[in-house]
Subunit: 447 residues, 2 copies
Amino acid sequence: MAAMGGGGKESGCGGGMAAQAGRLGVVASVAFNIAALALFLRRRYFGDDADEKKGETAAAVAPSSGKPPVTPDSVINLDHGDPTMYEAFWRGGAGERATIVIPGWQTMSYFSDVGSLCWFLEPGFEREVRRLHRLVGNAVADGYHLLVGTGSTQLFQAALYALSGGAAAGANPIGVVSPAPYYSSYPAVTDFLKSGLYRWAGDAKVFDGENYIELVCSPNNPDGGVRTAVVNSGGGGFVVHDLAYYWPQYTPITEAAAHDVMLFTVSKCTGHAGTRLGWALVRERAVAQKMSKFIELNTIGVSKDSQLRAAKIIKTITDGYEHAPVAAAVAGGDDDSGRLFHFARRQMVSRWGKLRAAVANSGIFTLPDEIPGHCTFANETVAAYPPFAWLHCEKEGVDDLEGYLRERKIICRGGAKFGVGGRFVRISMLDTDEAFAIFVDRLAAMK
Amino acid sequence: MAAMGGGGKESGCGGGMAAQAGRLGVVASVAFNIAALALFLRRRYFGDDADEKKGETAAAVAPSSGKPPVTPDSVINLDHGDPTMYEAFWRGGAGERATIVIPGWQTMSYFSDVGSLCWFLEPGFEREVRRLHRLVGNAVADGYHLLVGTGSTQLFQAALYALSGGAAAGANPIGVVSPAPYYSSYPAVTDFLKSGLYRWAGDAKVFDGENYIELVCSPNNPDGGVRTAVVNSGGGGFVVHDLAYYWPQYTPITEAAAHDVMLFTVSKCTGHAGTRLGWALVRERAVAQKMSKFIELNTIGVSKDSQLRAAKIIKTITDGYEHAPVAAAVAGGDDDSGRLFHFARRQMVSRWGKLRAAVANSGIFTLPDEIPGHCTFANETVAAYPPFAWLHCEKEGVDDLEGYLRERKIICRGGAKFGVGGRFVRISMLDTDEAFAIFVDRLAAMK
């Protein structure tokens, strides 16, 4: 869920949605706004007449490739955690092994397993996810109910629905809180339908109600911090653990998490954001049932095609480690072509090195400290290399760092959307090599 | 959207969710309840210890096949419009042509077309949907904005969000109405989050408010009726047309629909319910933008894998007609192997013939009349063969027809869930040949 989010700035990006969002108060003020960003980028890339250029000639169905390639003069969009960094791994040998073939007659039914609590969960996907957790050791899966969702965003909403009581909820919406800086889309996604079941209640550190749902994102989006629940009012609180980034390329795996509700997403584990798949591990059956009910009402289940594909992708990862054990991988060589976490860790180490050098060169920015820990997966002490850089500006007069960087053609997300000040921004570390290189060059030159 | 829905009966199906639903009032009373149904079916199929039988042996990832096969003694589940009837078509030559291959490195980005209003819409999917509408002539697509959703269920909620004003909505939720009998999941999906934006307001025929969203499902789920908007209060009403079943296998195509908001789903057009894909044609840009925003907030876009697969499937259908023109297909032969609508129409004619014979044989049921019309697609006058049978029982003492049939191992959905009396039930006409055959045999024997 912490996977992504938006934050096209309301002013300056133009476009109907942005203007509208600016007017609309609570939700809009925190909402991420990809529509506005798209318009902004379109004008840059294609000019104002982009609409006219979209012909309708029928052709073979080819997949999109996401955003256009960057050039040294491009606007660099690091607003979203678009994990295109991973494409290089999957273009290697592993990509072929992860190829999926689906004939026209497969998976036509709504049902995947009519006898299961989560009747739309493909058994093969469940099997591979459980296998992956056993490999990595980042969460206890045995004894937990596993649910699939259309990204962990949907599962986040399912958890709010389930924990607030669903149809049985009381008269007052339950407060949803998280310590600032919190993931920018928590408030927007909580409030956009003005639900009578739950309502965004802000920074968990200053919350003192008795009924609440606390969101614990760890490592935290945006700042990479390792977190535990902070509200301690003695009341009837629930906790949802958003573990989107609790994977060994980003942070040391220090224990197998065993919380009541744990959310994960394929996007930030394997890099396949376009599959829109997340999963939840849920301790209590009744909560899992209500979460499943939410997904049934919201979308009548989850794409089977994506589940089959994600199962194959995850299987490829686990197989890669079973064929070339971790110990050997750590000990030897640079060949990460079959070992996803090692490939991604190497990338993150490299990128964080370049970023810290650029920040040192510039002199006007600071970053959070590196926090090392013993990783049970890698069996060594490693530093954390979060998927986002939480950049702070020390320069006098720069109170809107997001705007300052936007003028320099770097799009990222300002601190206000995370519940803190405008001298902070969140920057994705997961974009393409080309975009990242241009970004650090520009950053190093800012004085 | 009318695609599906549930309706496991609250009492009698057992299971935590069902019991809970029974207690929870408004939403639950109309909610479809697949969880309860699943439990009911599991006990029938597998016995009470089904959970224990689900081993966790790692194996190659194989897709699920939906529900278990039926036997003459089986419970027959015709509660949902699970379109497994179509599998026979796709197992023919067309299925091979519709096969999709996705390498591991494709479609990893969140974005499909960063310059588009609907930035998560795969251009290939859009192209094939527009091409299909041109072939069939059931809707005007030129000049309309096209959006993709996780089934038309998600697009239905997106339409409510957009038309109720989203974040800009007033203090009172807008009323959502539809003439009874209305699709059973309209009330449940409208109300399950207790949104402050919109609220289910019941039968459109007795609604007299000024602000409303009217849902026009045509052909109508459950009764197959051809419908137009009925509310005429002179106020600020919006209309959403749910055209899930406006395809030539179900009803004569009498004109190219050109309404403000039109919803379609792959499930009931091609039979691929498991892909969870729908699309909307939307006249006004501002409405389309807000609908896109809903999907961004709800699920950060829609599975690209499903979009690529659906594009290939739809392309296969259109190609099938371009290679063997409609006129030839109508004139000659029984070879429907490449012509989906002709295959499905032949199935529907056959099934409705068998159903009407069974009803005549039984003597205690009635069905809606066949309504013929000139179909511009087939270029001949044809009758309507709806995807659901709206069965009425004339027998004295049978006031709960759903329960009456359940005792006879036929699961379907009772009239109360559609806003009418218990002497009606809705029965899916789209299940497998085997399930349908057992169903009509049992029906014919009821006296």
